[in-house]
Assembly symmetry: C2
Homo-oligomer: 336 residues x 2
Amino acid sequence: MTEIVYDVLGIGNAIVDVLAKVGDAFLSERHLIKGSMTLVEAAEAGKIYADVIPERQVSGGSAANTVAGLASLGADCAFIGKVHDDELGQLFQRDIGAAGIDFFTKPLIEGAATGRSVVLVTPDAERSMFTYLGAARKLTKEDIDEKIISESRITFIEGYLWDEPSEHQAILAACEIAHRYERKIAFSVSDISCVEKHRKQMLEFIKQYVDILFVNEAELMSLFQRDDFFEVLEDVKPLVEIAAVTRDSRGSVIVNGREKIFVEAEKIRDVVDSTGAGDLYAAGFLYGLVKGRSLGTCATIGGITASEIITHYGARPEVSLRGLVRHRLMEYGKKP
Amino acid sequence: MTEIVYDVLGIGNAIVDVLAKVGDAFLSERHLIKGSMTLVEAAEAGKIYADVIPERQVSGGSAANTVAGLASLGADCAFIGKVHDDELGQLFQRDIGAAGIDFFTKPLIEGAATGRSVVLVTPDAERSMFTYLGAARKLTKEDIDEKIISESRITFIEGYLWDEPSEHQAILAACEIAHRYERKIAFSVSDISCVEKHRKQMLEFIKQYVDILFVNEAELMSLFQRDDFFEVLEDVKPLVEIAAVTRDSRGSVIVNGREKIFVEAEKIRDVVDSTGAGDLYAAGFLYGLVKGRSLGTCATIGGITASEIITHYGARPEVSLRGLVRHRLMEYGKKP
């Protein structure tokens, strides 16, 4: 049996987040849809950039945020994703390296630029993302490193990796390798737009490969085209080993065979920016899991790490998540 | 710190169960209430006995059943309860000793006879209990052995011990000792009639002393005089560390701080006699707890042990619970 080197390997879009605060009018004037993720072409992306004043540029991407959270908690992580060897690509590499994450994917040296996501934050703390994927969508089967996957306890895949057939082939190759080595596949549905575009294929994928599913309530309802939350929990039960269903201020529900575990959300005074809440929930949850904690405690840790990320701009932690989690778990009378 | 000798110490009524099958008419002709526990005096008890053909005489009592279940699972247990040094009293002592449970309480040598419970099982598998407590209710503070309590990780108390002020004093003394030694108190509400008689005092007791509460759905609703199950789960949350709420074929719900864990029931073909289901659920649950299992697994084990007891007459296991639980947990993909 191959040895475990990494707790979690993330596979996802390697993109740089450009954060900007705007008023509601900024969106409505441009007929931009609020609260979701919209893919844009290079030209349109350029136009939106030109109109905003960037608050900050920081490495992002859903699965990359999750492994960054895991690294902040003290887990050993790696990442697979595609950048261009340009300025933003170098920024991405520096950031992920500084977070202590192994990242070996070869950058593009020609063609599309490094992906970027303009995250417009309105006064209600909602995020609207306009993403130019660029180099990120050029991930192929050739980037899927068998050795790294075989050495990772859990391979975490984001649902955004679904648009290009070549990306999809890359995901399937990763899943096949992971299961051949008896490793677990965790998958995040990422966004309701991904479900709506790929429902049937996604359900099939979840059923065939996914061990641990991260999904929010709206995505789950859309996945099964249901309107009853308790029924949809029964739908998802036979498909995966563990489903972690997030519900914003109502906490999360973990479905695991014969158990359904309802865990309350953290109490939060001000939500500043919900970017990365799902990614960091997954980070906390997976950290609990690799540490052998109970599923209820995994969900609690996920709630704690998600709560940190939404009290400031950006999807990367601003405090030591490890210290925060230890402190909070003690408050809740749990082993830190 | 005193060393732990016992996983669980039970304190309860030491009674012998007399099991008999009767038709529904037997109850209605005698104006006996079905499905509950009715206390009777010596004379009335004698009259019911005279009219039934006992199927079996076996040591019973709620907390005694629980520690017998725990012993069958492999836990180290002790029991405190009062018998008379008569034939049934000796039967009780033999049975509990044979189950491997330490039992040192001095028997009465005069006064009331050993308690007995006529359990009438109707064709619908419902049990109606007519209990003459006799010697059992003579338990006093003097029987509460500080050493045994200090050496027990958990002291489990049944709610039936509530009628005599001297018994109540004994319980309170046990709780004070347990908490002085930083041990846990588990308490089973036992029966809805106990709640109805002692609601206010019982709530106060739970709040002040109980760490782990066993209660069924109807008892819990009665305790808080509510008719909404989800609301009542919020009511009980701040009172105890763990509440295990049983719901018959709908499984059980564990309330533990910020977590509510819904666990499905075992699938059972034929319920023969529901006597002892709650007692054996508590046994399985506490066994999981002393073994450090997750609360979901504790509830699963409780469901398994309860399911064994209701497929035959009597409240003591007829197979090795240890083997049964190992086998079932493996079926559910859990560590045995």
